[in-house]
Structure formats: C-alpha cells, structure tokens
C-alpha cells in the first residue's frame, strides 16, 4: 500500500460519516454522542433484532425488561466493575424537583440491577438456568463518539444468564458467541475472528471475555460483540445463593453478552464503496427496488400496469420490495439514490422491457446488469440475491484474508501496521508490559485464541523475545 495510509484512514472516516448521513441511516442531535436512528437505519436494526431474537428464543432464552436507573451504591459492589465503568457514568441527581437521597446511574450495562432481582428469583437449583435477554438502550459517557460505532447512548441486547456450574456458564457464553458469529458471517456477510480477550481488555467484572473481531476496509479491527463468563463475581457481590443438588448453598455461575447498533456501522464500513452503502440481501430493508421509466405520457400507463404486475408477483414471493413511484425526480436521480442506500438489486422497467416482457436487473455489488424474463422472475431474483449475498461474503473474506499476516519481530510488526493496516498474529509471553508496548504502534491485542490449551505459541514473544505463551491477534482498532 502507498505511504498515505493515515490520510486514507482520515478520508475513510469522513466517507463513513457522509455515507451514514446521506443514506439517512442516522442524524446527529444536539445531545453529544446521541444520534437519531432514522427509519432506514432503524429498519436494518429491526432485521438484526428479528434474526438474533429468533436464535435466542430457539435456544431457550426469554426477554424481560429491567430498570433504566441503577442506585449508585450497586455499581460499587463489584470492585472491578465500578473501576471499569465509573469514568463513563451519567448520573441523575434530581427527580421531581428534589435532590435525590441516593444518586441514580443511567445503566451503562445491567448486571448489577439484574443480580439484585436474581437474588429474589433464584433459590434452588430448580430455578436454574435463568436464561434472560433484554432489548434496550444503555448510556456510556464516551469521550470520542461516532454514529453507531461508539455512542454515548446506544441500542443493544444484553443477555444475563445464571447456571449451576462454571462449565455450564462457560458453555453458555460460547454458545452465544457461536450464535453471534453465525449471524454476522451468514447474514451480515462479514467474516469474524472469534477469540478471548486478554486480562487487560476483558469486561470489568468478567472471568473470561469472548470476543468477535472483524476487519473494516481500512484494516482496523471492530469489536462486533462480546460474551462474558462472569464466574461467581456478580452472584457473590449481590449475595445470590441457591440450594444446590448436594444440599449446599452456592453462588450461581453467570454470563452476560451483547451485540448493539454498532453492527450497523460495521455493515457500512465493511461493504460500502464510493457510491454509498452496499447491503447484504439477508439484512437489507429493501432487497429489490423497482424504478419505472417512461418518457412520453402514453408510455406511462403501459409501464405502470407492467410494474404493478411485477410488484404483485414479487410481493407474493416474499421479497422485501420498494417501488419508487416519485414523479418529482428523474430515473437517474433514483438510480443514484438507491445505490447510495445500498439496495442489493434494482429493477429498471421501461417501455422496451415491457415490450420484451422482461425487466432489467442491476446488482449493487458488481454493478452488472442483465435482462430477466417475466416467466420465473421471482425465482430468478431469489437466486440472484443469494449470489449477491455470497459474492459480498466472499469479497469481505478475501479482503480480511489478504490483510491478515503472521509476524515474528516487533520491528516487522511496526512496519507492517504502518504500511498495511490489518490483522497481525504475533507470539506473546503474556506479560502486560509487552501488551502495553503495542500502544506505541497505536495497536492492541484484539483477541487470543478461543482455547488456551490449543493456543501453543509459534516461538519467542514478538515484543520482548522471551518464551511465547500464546498467539495473539494485534491490530489498530476502532
């Protein structure tokens, strides 16, 4: 790659904001770090919710809702938790015109308030496992914010489960990671690297944090979601005890896990191009947009009748469809507009198409056009959309693969990150001092291999040269 990598990243950052705003995914508001998610962006979130929710329910999870406000004292009960979140809290000090006796925190995450409830709900091993998920909002007072990627307020799901044993909790945390990974790869067409976080990077209060890292088009890593094995930390902090099968009182073993509206940002960053968004068909609000075309008034009725026929057929076939019938803008304007919004397939229908009993299909990802006859159109489109989906996934996979390397020396790592940002596998001795040195390169350890035992190092620590204990994935990150 050329020398102006940092400049490219800056350009990429401008491009990102411009695309998010002009595709009407979201808009800024006067509240710093709080965006308005506009209908087109929210429709993507609804599709994400529907898919993830279905998978969670299929694996026995149920939704519930817990309070937005958390007593400040609750945050302090788990030592690592408060240390991690204290700098990011929004605090309600007044309510109903009165100063509050105890300040309330706007939830940055809900472990504390939920474990206070679980103390009442979990008495016996018969009450376990508890498999609860919540869809909602959360607030973290971030210093640098960016729409979808890092917000003061964001939307997410947060799962909170409790189990009889460490092994069950760990299996749950890994099951959820698998669900996330499958969803992100198969539906969002984004390859991910699953792994564990280092001690330094793990969730404040977790024993083990499992993560998924994806490579954006600028080579930087985005953490797509996390799944935490919390051990007995919150059970102990909130005095949740259950009578076990062996007659002993024990603290339950628990997990928490989340994906958020950040995934919308990832869709933009991974798949977008200079024309705007490119949305994978499985998540796109509209899979197909129809643009009717005519010049003369006498063509209009013919085209419109044909369009209505196509509309009825495709709707019956279950395609998510939009017909752009605006008569205040030109077809060319519409083409650009829907390309900007990343609709996977555009159908142009003009007088010649009507005469030939066909439509002209333009796919967004490769920008190729082809005529498709009306007979069997729905089936043809289904297969075209599947091809768009797999082509997008393959392209993202190829980009990630070609920008993932193994390095064995620090100088090599530094030169690599400078010249060609991407994912770098290194050997690591496990010493936080070596992890800290990566900050000099504006990089960090994004993930360790999932299984500690299988994570045999390939050689000496890439940073200090001492015995490597594990492989580690290093990258610049969002």
């Amino acid at each position: 790659m050329d020398e102006s990598v940092d400049e490219q990243i800056e350009d990429r950052s401008d491009w990102y904001i411009r695309t998010v705003l002009s595709a009407e995914l979201a808009d800024y508001t006067p509240v710093r770090g709080s965006i308005a998610i506009r209908p087109y962006g929210y429709a993507i979130w609804e599709n994400i919710q529907a898919d993830v929710d279905r998978e969670l329910k299929a694996t026995g999870h149920k939704n519930a809702s817990f309070p937005l406000f958390i007593p400040m004292s609750f945050m302090r009960r788990e030592a690592e938790h408060v240390e991690g979140f204290a700098p990011e809290l929004a605090v309600v000090t007044h309510g109903g015109g009165q100063k509050l006796a105890e300040e309330l925190v706007v939830r940055p995450t809900s472990e504390t308030i939920i474990y206070d409830c679980y103390r009442k709900w979990i008495k016996s091993y018969r009450d376990l496992p508890v498999l609860i998920n919540q869809w909602g909002n959360a607030v973290r007072w971030e210093m640098r914010t960016r729409p979808f990627l890092r917000g003061m307020e964001f939307l997410w799901q947060e799962g909170h489960t409790a189990h009889e044993t460490f092994a069950e909790a760990d299996a749950e945390a890994r099951l959820i990671l698998d669900i996330y990974v499958r969803f992100i790869q198969e539906v969002l067409a984004i390859p991910v690297v699953p792994g564990r976080k280092s001690e330094r990077e793990k969730f404040a209060g977790a024993e083990i944090t499992y993560t998924m890292e994806s490579m954006m088009r600028d080579g930087r890593a985005l953490q797509m979601g996390t799944s935490h094995n919390l051990g007995q930390n919150f059970g102990r902090a909130f005095d949740v005890r259950f009578l076990d099968r062996d007659g002993e009182q024990k603290f339950p073993w628990s997990t928490s896990w989340a994906v958020s509206t950040r995934l919308i940002g990832a869709l933009v960053l991974v798949h977008g191009d200079d024309k705007g968004l490119i949305l994978p068909p499985r998540i796109a609000p509209f899979q197909v947009v129809i643009v009717p075309i005519w010049r003369k008034d006498e063509e209009r009725a013919t085209v419109e009748a044909f369009v209505s026929q196509v509309e009825a057929e495709l709707q019956a076939a279950g395609l998510r469809l939009e017909i752009d019938r605006r008569d205040t803008v030109t077809p060319g304007f519409k083409f650009n507009d829907w390309e900007l919004r990343g609709v996977p397939v555009r159908l142009e229908i003009g007088p010649r198409d009507v005469a030939a009993n066909q439509v002209t299909a333009a796919r967004r990802d490769t920008r190729e056009k082809q005529a498709i006859g009306l007979a069997g159109l729905a089936a043809e489109l289904h297969s075209l959309l599947e091809d768009v989906q797999s082509t997008m996934a393959a392209r993202a996979r190829e980009f990630a693969d070609t920008h993932t390397q193994s390095v064995s020396g620090f100088a090599e790592l530094a030169a690599g990150l400078e010249a060609s940002p991407g994912f770098y596998w290194i050997n690591w001795c496990g010493d936080p001092v070596c992890e800290d040195r990566l900050m000099e390169l504006k990089a960090s350890i994004r993930a360790l291999p999932m299984d500690e035992s299988a994570a045999g190092a390939g050689g000496a620590c890439t940073v200090c040269g001492k015995d490597g204990k594990t492989r580690a994935l290093v990258a610049k990150a969002y």
Copy 2:
C-alpha cells in the same frame, strides 16, 4: 352495591399487586417506581408490540429511535409543555465525572427532541407527511406509582407525525385512535369509550387530545392511551418550516400518540378473578397448557407418548403452547399455577384420556371442562379459544354497560359514585369551575364525545344547573 365500596377498592388494590407479583408478570426493584418486567409479563408486551406494530406499518408508519436525553432548554420552548412536565422530570447533572454545562432531562416524552430533528428533515411539502413511531422507554417522576399502571419508568410506543394541514393531522390522530380502539377491544377483549379530553385534562402542548377510557372491575376508569392533535405548537416552538404547494413557508401540523405497558395492568384489572389472571387467547403468551398426569410409572411412558403426539399436532396448527413436564410438583399444583397465570385453556392428559383417545380441556374463563377427541383437536381448540375470547369480551362489555349511567343532578352523581363506582354521563356547561367541583367526589371528566358538533347536551349542567354545552363522562380514575 353494598356500603363498603372503598374497602373493596382497597382490597382490589392489594389483590392487583399480589396477582402481578405471584403470576410473575413483574417484580419491584430498589428503584422507586421502576419495575422489572419478568419474562411472562414481557411476553404479553411482545404480543402487544407485534399487533400494534403490524397495524402501524400497514398504515404507512415507520419506526425510528431518538435520544433518551433532552437538553433542559428544549423542554422550555413550548410553554404549556414545560409547565405540564417540569414537576415530573428526572435530571442528569453529571456525566463522565464532570458537571454538565447544560442539564439533560431523561425523556418524559419525545416531542421536543424529535421536532428539533424534524427541522432538518422537513423542508418541503414533498417531505410530508412524516409518519414515525418509536418503541422505547420514558421516565416521569410520579409521586404514587403502581406496577404497569403508573411507573416512574415505563415502556411504550410514541408516534410523532407531521402534516401539511390541520385536517390531515386531525385525521391522523383519529386514525390512530381507531387502531388503538380496535386492538384493545378485539385483541385485549376490553371495551373502551373513545372521546376527547377537556382543556384541563389534555396533553401539555396539544390542541386536542383524543383518549380511550376503559372501566376496571372496581368501576374506576383507566386511560388506555391517547392520541394528540398538536396543532402547529411544536412546529412553531422548534421553527420547523416547510415550503408549501402555494409557495408559502409554513409550520407543519403534527400529532403524537402512545400506548404503554399500562395495557398489561388493564388486562389484569379487567379480566382477573380471585384465582389470578385470565388472559384473552389473542394476547396470551401461552394459549394452551398441557398437564400430563400419571400415578404409576408404567402409565408415564404411554401418557408422554400421547402428549408428544398432541404437542406436534398443536404446534403445527400454530397454537402457542406450553407443556408442563415438571416432575417436582403435582398436577394439582400445576393446575393452580397456570390458572394464576391465566392460560385460557388447560389440557389434562391422563391414562383414561389416552385410552379414550381424547384430552380433557378446562377453560379458564368459565372453568368448564369438556372432553375433546384427538381427531380434529386443533380445529376444536381454535374454535374453543375463539369462544373464550368472545365470552371474555362480552363479559367485560356487560360489566361496563351495567355500570354506566346517565345522571342529571350533582347530588345524584355524588350518591351514584359513592354507592356504585362506574361511568356517569353528565351534562356540562364547559366551565372549569364545574369541572373542579368533581374533585370533591374524587372524580374527574374522563372524556367528552369525539365530535364537538354532535355532542349536544341533554339539558342543564349537572353541576351548576346552567346551560349544558356538552355531554361528559365522569368517573373515579386510576
């Protein structure tokens, strides 16, 4: 009715809380007025959401998400609005460890932050109508709270639309009220009286507030939801201007409307009995629960095989089904447990049922039992559930009808409200002084007829005896 009406109401209030807690709809939390909605209660909310959301989308509305926090100065822009909401605000004064330059309000409702966005999105009549809805949470610092009925925090949908004319906005506000009324009557099996609010009772910032009032079993009214014609008040306050067809710059005409988790409370209060909840089949998380019954081990395998066969058939038929396979509690315990939770139909399946190739169906509303043969079981159950639904609706309608009266004198009204709480239609001169006098009776005007022009009074004002201008519905309210 007997003399101890107030005592009954108090008993009813205890019964309500006990039912909500023991049916595991919700639980208290240490944050005053903030409940945890437990999975069984949240499942009802998900069913409400699914139905209402489908209707809103079918009428062209789209979902979006706006910030949780609102700058304090925004609340002050619309004079009536701030006056109405100032006493109920929760205020964030600190974020990220710093005192904020401007305090942030946790949204009690989102008109202000939304109209600030609409200023950027609405420039021309071509951008209208804007038909946006938001599912989310809101916070009002209420003094007396009760689970679902009045919370400091609650979940709701809030719709916010903008239009070219007053007439369009008014038609929208009425359309939404119709959607709500149909949903509440047909799905929740609760009769409602639609109407307008008086000046005193209308939403802070609205021109016209349309309301729906339902009668609970203690004769008191519950406001089930509202739909506001906001006139140009928020457009003007936030300087939203559009270029109209006539070339003039104008403020748009707007509406807002909401239903909330309060509807769950209404289901409890209208349909419940001394055994617990009774849920209408169209909204129940489980429409049918199967309780397998056996005494001897050798019966178990036969019963379980039969139950699995029934399960497969009913699931294929799209019934929402639960099989209670717990082996730590007796069938009698299970009967009580599911009656408490209000499942419309229980199927008991024991050795005799298996031998006779039948199930024993017990309906929750009438507590009648009947045997149903396995052949055509799903169809029989569908029709049984429809009968439960219509029976519940008819019973609630009959209760409301028999507790709704017309009165012409204040003494008669006072005596009526005292002896037999219910809905009382009065004649009203329109003077707020007469409205205030109703407070002496712990009552208020819940609704005026929908159409002012058609609301001819039947005679002299029930309170002061001067010329009546309109009919008015009076009741004690939640």
